[in-house]
């Protein structure tokens, strides 16, 4: 297995949280995909069950209306929990600049579980944990927003919902 692939994987969350041995084990189950400008990597509405790491190039996220909403750049990750908790894409992913992706599908994760359970266990724990910083950030941002800007929750129903319960 290519050491370059292991090194590339180790730069991305959730792999960056794993011992190198587990990254090397997991690297046997990922796929590397080249992409050219205009390639559709996934469509809105399709099952989102793949972790996508952008190694190079750009992946544009496009709403069903055709509006470009966001861009995933090198070093960034999309769908961290997809292989363990599949959902559906709400946007399409279109290549905006040619490059390469590393993919880990739900099927590949399942095979990793069958063949190397310790690596799969560590990877899945790290995938689940990757939600925590985002959750903390979202909670803190919401909390900060609820105090100053809207004067302690102007919205009456929300204010009632937030009232301490006895």
């Amino acid at each position: 297995m290519s050491q370059n692939l292991v090194a590339a994987l180790a730069r991305f969350r959730p792999f960056s949280e794993l011992p190198l041995r587990a990254v090397a084990d997991a690297s046997r189950f990922v796929a590397v995909q080249r992409m050219d400008v205009g390639d559709t990597i996934f469509n809105a509405g399709e099952i989102a069950d793949t972790l996508i790491l952008v190694v190079s190039g750009e992946l544009r996220l496009v709403a069903p209306s055709g509006r470009a909403v966001d861009t995933v750049r090198p070093g960034e990750t999309l769908g961290v929990t997809g292989p363990m908790l599949p959902s559906r894409y709400t946007m399409s992913g279109i290549c905006g600049d040619e490059g390469a992706l590393i993919l880990l599908s739900a099927e590949a994760l399942s095979t990793l579980w069958e063949q190397i359970p310790p690596a799969a266990a560590l990877l899945e724990m790290a995938m689940a944990a990757s939600v925590v910083p985002e959750l903390r950030e979202a909670t803190e941002a919401l909390g900060a927003r609820l105090t100053a800007p809207i004067e302690s929750v102007r919205h009456p129903r929300l204010r009632r919902a937030l009232a301490p319960r006895r």
């Binding site: 929990t81 908790l85 359970p117 689940a128 944990a129 941002a141 909390g143 919205h155 129903r157 319960r165």
Partner: protein, 172 residues
């Protein structure tokens, strides 16, 4: 707390030792390092947090069938709240090391339990983002339909999952 009950239903916990705790027994303190999840089998546990002014605010009561500490299980670190028993309780502790050992031992129940924990966090994250979007619309003067829709959608469980952690920020 129906989302929490999903975790309790897992047979993964069926043979776990239960611990009896009386009123006033602390499970953990805010700021203390944690690596365990707790399932409340019987009784009640009060979660509280300190505000920026140092005042303790009750943020949630976890009843029988509920869980607490799922974040520490997945990402060990300082507890974000304190937990104390307020009604004689039976508790099951799930330590990260125990979960990992059972995952490595190919225990499918442990894997299902981990996925249920992750699902709970993802659910909270989606709901928090939805609420942020709805509040943004409200603050921009676009009306309160989005906030009302959020409250209608998540009234049964969303309040404890998303709103409780927000309470320490609210001025009193």
């Amino acid at each position: 707390m129906s989302d929490h009950e999903g975790l309790m239903e897992h047979n993964f916990l069926i043979d776990a030792p239960r611990e009896r705790l009386g009123v006033g027994a602390p499970l953990f303190e805010e700021g203390e390092h944690g690596e365990e999840l707790f399932v409340v089998v019987k009784g009640r546990v009060l979660l509280s947090r300190r505000t920026q002014a140092g005042e303790s605010v009750a943020v949630a009561t976890i009843q029988a069938g509920g869980v607490l500490g799922e974040i520490a299980l997945l990402q060990p670190g300082p507890r974000s709240a304190s937990a104390i028993v307020t009604e004689d309780a039976e508790i099951v502790r799930v330590h990260r090391r125990m979960l990992l050992e059972r995952l490595i031992g190919r225990d499918p129940l442990a894997r299902a339990f981990l996925r249920a924990c992750a699902q709970l966090l993802v659910l909270r994250l989606r709901r928090a983002r939805d609420l942020a979007g709805a509040l943004g619309a409200y603050e921009r003067g676009e009306g309160d339909a989005a906030v009302n829709a959020w409250l209608d959608r998540y009234d049964a469980v969303g309040d404890s999952l998303v709103l409780d952690p927000l309470k320490p920020w609210l001025p009193r």
